[in-house]
């Protein structure tokens, strides 16, 4: 608590952890390249340096606010120094901006514009280094790395994986996996949080847009899309619509206009997941075997368990993820000539997630010798494709998803936010569907932005201890407790990305925006307006079990071989 003087104005502060936060709260957006409030302070870019009344300079991110401080954020020399720092960074950086994936969204590019840098006086003498394209989901371009370490800290502190680190020193310093191994050979789970934190194009999504354009252009191919719940709340703001509002209807129209033959909603297969996973859970509780059940919707989390806690592999639900269940059902549906009319079926799943690009390559994501999902497009790629088309997204009328796989329940929609899977399972477990019962579930502790949520629910007299986790570093904490016998859960839901899929590694990145609150609200609102709230009340699901799935539930909806 106290007051400080910033540029001659008195500003009060309470519990801000550093001077930078107080300055930003006062409405001055000091530039930073290495500061994120969610990870530890690094203090390397020095752009947030300010001057005090004695002419002393210090990085405001690394200084605690003190009562009576007098600071200046934009003195002549500080402005000059900041500009020079950006110029020096540009000098050691690949400057092919026009062909960079990050063009228009790059923080460094933005700072160059903001500082009015028109020439760079120094030659780039950095040795050209090869790209790492080994991962199915991400591309690392060391030539665009500015060594801010944001990816290193995100991977280590938020995800508890630590696949990236610093190597060498001075101007030879580089960010790389240990021993400069290709990233695909490390414990990287492809969650893409490094890419979310990277201010430049040094880590980007491996794109598959060309494959989709080709399929769309081929008259002998039926292109079928499935759109994940979290996608619908992350597209609108790119086209001037309110952030976080669900634009599923416009996405369906857009995909049809782009040439997709069928557009389905992944909430449908989220309902399938709920049916299967609840059944599996009740079986395991009955037998007392392989508990706690670990959810299997998130491929990054599943890989994390395989790499870090192999002894818990039997605890992972055998259910395929909603993406894989859906693709298997779609491929099965279009198998016969009557349905496919001789056309090849290409399933494109549109996901908020980079790890889904890895999931489709698993040996178990296959039926009848064919990969079920052909291409995964992230939300970011979808937005780029929409821009390429030139179609005015904001003005499009909404359409409903195609049948027979276009109908999902509210429980399926909230899969995109942490706790959603558990909430949907709990809805399935209660017989009632009145507002009071659903509100009671929503308020049992399953919602909220904490990384680890624990609560107990009663199921027919049996107490069920539930743990809902988002962020793999949190998952590590929970798994250590389970391993050491300090915690006893029957079910653990884990989403690798903090807050769940809405903040996935494939989502567009909006620095500084209140993105997670808006997207969370967007999904809960989308659930509120759904007529059907519970998976078991989705009539198309019941029909599917009676029809296409009969006798094939295990083959199409479950994994049989571990990774």
């Amino acid at each position: 608590m106290g007051t400080m003087t910033i540029d001659g104005r008195k500003v009060e502060f309470t519990n801000e952890k550093n001077v930078l936060s107080v300055i930003r709260k006062a409405g001055i957006n000091l530039p930073t390249l290495c500061y994120h409030s969610e990870v530890s302070t690094f203090g390397a870019c020095r752009l947030c340096t300010v001057e005090d009344d004695r002419g002393r300079t210090f990085a405001s991110c690394s200084e605690e606010p003190r009562d009576g401080m007098v600071i200046y954020t934009n003195t002549g020399r500080i402005k000059k120094y900041r500009r020079l720092i950006v110029e020096l960074l540009l000098a050691a950086h690949c400057r092919d901006c026009t062909t960079c994936v990050k063009n228009g969204e790059c923080v460094l590019q933005g700072l160059a514009a903001r500082m009015n840098i028109s020439t760079v006086r120094f030659e780039n003498t950095r040795e050209l280094r090869p790209l790492d394209t080994s991962s199915p989901a991400l591309v690392r371009d060391p030539n665009k790395c500015i060594l801010c370490g944001d990816c290193v800290r995100a991977c280590e502190e938020i995800q508890g994986v630590g696949a990236l680190g610093f190597a060498f020193r001075g101007t030879d310093a580089m960010v790389m996996p240990a021993f400069n191994k290709p990233i695909a050979e490390t414990d990287c789970v492809n969650c893409g949080q490094c890419r979310v934190y990277c201010p430049t194009g040094a880590i980007s999504i491996k794109t598959n847009m060309d494959e989709v354009w080709d399929a769309l252009a081929d008259p002998d191919t039926r292109v079928v899309a499935q759109v994940a719940p979290a996608v619908r709340v992350a597209v609108g703001d790119a086209f001037g619509l309110p952030a976080g509002r669900s634009v599923m209807g416009k996405i369906v129209t857009m995909l049809h206009r782009l040439g997709f033959d069928e557009v389905y909603d992944t909430t449908f297969s989220a309902d399938l997941t709920i049916m299967e996973e609840t059944k599996e859970f009740l079986e395991r509780v009955g037998q007392g075997k392989n508990l706690p059940l670990l959810t299997s919707c998130c491929p990054a989390w599943v890989k994390f368990v395989h790499d870090q806690y192999p002894e818990f592999i039997p605890n992972i639900s055998t259910c395929r993820s909603p993406q894989e269940m859906f693709s298997a059902v779609i491929k099965e549906h279009f198998k016969g000539y009557e349905k496919n009319q001789g056309k090849k079926t290409v399933v494109v799943s549109i996901m908020p997630c980079t790890a889904k690009k890895m999931e489709i390559l698993r040996p178990d994501s296959v039926n009848n010798g064919e990969r079920n999902t052909d291409v995964v497009l992230t939300t970011t790629e979808l937005i780029r494709m929409i821009r390429t088309s030139g179609i005015d997204f904001a003005e499009l009328p909404p359409e409903s998803s195609d049948m027979p796989f276009g109908l999902g329940s509210g429980g399926g929609v909230i899969f995109g936010v942490t706790g959603g899977v558990t909430e949907a399972v709990l809805r399935r477990l209660v017989d009632k569907h009145d507002k009071e019962s659903l509100d009671a579930i929503a308020q049992c502790g399953v919602r909220g932005e904490e990384g680890i949520k624990e609560f107990t629910v009663d199921y027919k007299g049996i107490p069920i201890n539930v743990c809902v986790v988002s962020g793999l570093a949190n998952a590590r904490t929970v798994m250590e407790r389970v391993k050491n016998g300090e915690a006893n859960y029957q079910i653990i839901e884990v989403m690798a990305c903090r807050q769940g899929c809405i903040m996935g590694g494939g989502q567009p990145v909006k620095p500084g925006a209140r993105t997670k609150e808006e997207r969370t609200r967007g999904l809960y609102n989308a659930d509120s307006v759904m007529v059907i709230k519970k998976a078991d009340e989705n009539p198309t699901i019941a029909a599917l079990y009676e029809g296409l799935l009969k006798g094939k539930e295990h083959e199409l909806l479950h994994n049989t071989i571990p990774w």
């Binding site: 390397a44 020399r77 020096l88 001075g170």
Partner: protein, 205 residues
């Protein structure tokens, strides 16, 4: 006089009466630092001194903060350019600009003090910098690229030993007459001067 180790500053004879304590030397852009004192005479080139210390701090930079990692690299590049005779007058402004920035913005003591030799020599020995850039001349005759090898015709006996030892064939002449060094070909390796028995070869500043 260079004081305080590689990241200290350079003082001149006019500072001889300055007390050797933290506050006094700081006023003149130096630090007590390691406590070391290096005393140099007119045979040491102050631009080369700045380059030498910068190459040390640049190598020591850990690479974490941008001002030190990138700033020391660019300062070293400019200093190398100047001692090689390829400097421009605008380099001095760039050098000053980067040095001041690094001093104020670097993360740790190494970075904050790395520019001190540059700043203090720029202030006290600016004329030496200008000589290197404009006249392509190093008055201490130590900057190899700026040395000019000449043969004193009066002392030369025309023995031809220099021409024989020259690795690039830059020396020509007839025996018993004075030899001549072609400045275009000469690589300033000093072999001829080393080999001359009559001290007829000298370096012109």
């Amino acid at each position: 006089m260079q004081i305080g180790g590689p990241s200290g500053g350079c003082l001149t004879t006019e500072h001889l009466d300055v007390g050797l304590d933290f506050d006094s030397v700081k006023k003149y852009g130096a630090i007590v630092g390691s406590g070391g004192l290096v005393v140099m005479d007119e045979h040491t080139c102050m631009v080369e001194v700045a380059r030498f210390f910068m190459s040390f701090t640049q190598r020591e930079s850990c690479g974490k903060c941008v001002p030190c990692r990138e700033g020391t690299k660019r300062m070293l590049e400019i200093l190398e350019r100047i001692v090689e005779g390829n400097g421009k007058l605008s380099d001095l402004d760039e050098l000053q600009e980067i040095a001041e920035m690094v001093k104020s913005m670097a993360l740790c003591g190494l970075g904050k003090s790395a520019p001190l030799p540059v700043l203090s020599t720029l202030k006290t020995f600016r004329d030496e910098y200008v000589e290197h850039i404009v006249d392509k001349k190093c008055r201490a005759k130590t900057c190899q690229a700026l040395r000019k090898y000449r043969i004193n015709e009066e002392l030369c006996k025309g023995c031809g030993k220099c021409a024989k030892s020259c690795p690039v064939g830059a020396i020509t002449g007839k025996r018993r007459e004075s030899y001549h060094i072609d400045p275009e070909l000469c690589i300033k390796c000093d072999t001829c001067r080393d080999n001359c028995a009559f001290e007829a070869i000298y370096v012109e500043a």
